[in-house]
Amino acid sequence: MSTPAKSSAKSPRETSSGTSRETAVLPPLDDPSVVAEHRRMKRRANRGRSFTYVAAIAIALWIIIPIFFVFSMAFTTEETVRSYPKNFLPFVPFSTETMRFFLGSEGVLKGLLNSVLVALITLVLSTIIAVPAGYAISRYVFPGRELFRISVLAVRAFPIVVLSIPLAVLFIRTGLFDSIWSLSLMHTALALPTTILVVSSVFASVPYELEEAGQVFGATPVQSFRHIVVPLVLPGIAASGLFTFVLSWNEVFAASVLTLDNRTLPALVLTSLANASPAFQFAGGFFLMVPSIIFTFFIRKYLFNMWGQVSK
């Protein structure tokens, strides 16, 4: 992309955007004014490109520096974490002391384990439920298809807070309260709409003709699904599973509302934030961030497919 308007030379066409339309006859291409204009445009484009690089690097730094800060604090001594002014050199001195302190704090290992379990149960549940639904939306035309799609979309718009309180009341009544299962059920409800839409867009990207071609060559519908469609959609479904995992890993409101003794990591960190030491906070922040950094790396190919589809 190119540069801001202030660098533009005063070409006749630039003076007013309205007049360009009235220029009915263009001068010949070798006309000196055309050549000069062409050169100006090229220069402008080059300057614009370097400006874009500067902007890109600035934005990248704005995003990376805070992450880097937390990471370097998570791998240093407790003394450095408490010290002031802070060292700007990263990982100096490098130490696992902060990490060990965090992992040794009460409830942290259990919280980590709970988080992993809840995220895995959520992943499995929502994938099992979403894959057939996503397949139906992308492969079949049936009355009520649009209605289903729209209602799934609408579900995404409802705030988590509205859902958490009545579910807590419900779970207390049924004795499911404060278990990793109840939280997984809740997280599945949160993840399901997005997962369904993503899975349907993944299926839609595999043309049905491929399946048909398989059948033409003598495969049964199940065989052609198994040997043609499944390998093609697997990466996409894995990406949506990753998304579900991270959603569950990050979710803090419902986790704090629905658990008491079986806290997940975010709920534990949130409720002990007030009297936590800086070392605890940094290491906690590190653990909360790691899955999302991996997740973003793996789904970057699907980024626009996923959200483009979902936001339609």
Partner: protein
Amino acid sequence: MKSRRRSLVPYFLIAPALLYLAAFFAYPMFQGLLLAVYDDEATLPLLDGPTVDGAEVGRLSQGSGITISDRQGNRLADADVVDNDEFATGLLTEQWFQVSGEGIEGDEVSGWMPESRLRVRDEAADGTVLGGTIRPRLGQSGDPSTALRAEPNESAAEIGRIGERVAVTVDETAVLEVWFQVVDAETGLEGWAPSRFVEVFSDDETGRIDRGTAGEFTTKFIRKMVDDRKFSSAWRTTLMLIGMILPLQFVLAMAMALVIDARLRFGSGFLYVFALPMGMSDLAVGILFFSIFSGNGLLNSFLEAIGVIDAQKLFLTADTQGWILFAIVLAELWRATSIVMVILVSGLQAIPRETLEAAELFGASYWQRVRHIVLPLLKPSIQVALILRTILAFQVFAVVIALSGGDVVTVLANETFRQYFSLRNNNVASAYAVFILLLSIASAVFYLRAVRAQEEVRPS
């Protein structure tokens, strides 16, 4: 697409999802709405006698003042005592013992008496009372002996008397549920109610209805929410944050989207970095920005290093609400701009390159192209992103708690959590949640309307 003919297959395929969403989304959503406007302990029916199958004589609402005109104990089945949790808390029960021992006339007597008359001397390992002595009636003139009755009930017939300090064995134990005959202080309505629904004051004569058993629709939770001292600051802060964050966010997201769309070298690297905050936990981002703004954080260190300040400055205290708000805005900008960018890039990719090239050919400057071609064509994407972001912004929660302790600066989601977690008030918490829901719906409708109105005004 297959199966244009009618088939049940797709319905089987979507059925699990539908059922799941009905059970864990629609149903709790409905319950949540109900919690906010329905009080299931609103009124207590009074009965014409001290039994559960008595006829209802009228209802008293929760909190009404009463006087107690009579009491009676009813024997409970053993199963009720063990199984019903409600009996464990707040229930006024009385134990009665069937005892046998030597009566005042020297004969062997056996009958029922209340626990207040027995000093327990012998207990089994599981706590079952096996025996004891009859308590003396200290400082009382009159008959010092204790009456034994045919049934575990004050009004049952007397079948014998037993003297003080006499050793007895306990043959059977009964638990009585105490019933009160109450009189409404205002209307004079009289009737019987189980003691566990009545709070008795220290004079033993007056009290109030603690909670009811019958529900009714009420606005009292909503009123309680509105009257809460944090309510107005919560919704004001929420709206103010949205007002500050969204415009900045869209400018930043647009810049990011245009940078990505420019297809630079290392473009996918930049895309990865730009998308990094998208999957990040809001709590982690709160901690991240707390570490920047805290007393011995990155910002102070930096400012001191370049010589702007010469002592630590405290940014996140009760006196520096402005700084806290600023930190929250920055944290939200950092965290949630990526998703807007992704939506905008999806929109940008749908704009035909030819259109932009044509505009460039006709001499449109970069800003002219952005202003007159990109932005109008991007409008649907912008609308989607706006709705999504606004709805999510109403739920800002962990960032605020991390940066302000959830106290100095408070937002609606925060208050919902406080009502539920600290004040244990599910109904008011639900009222807050419903308020957030209504605001979300209202803003979605507002954006859809605004965009449509704009389209109608424009002639082409």
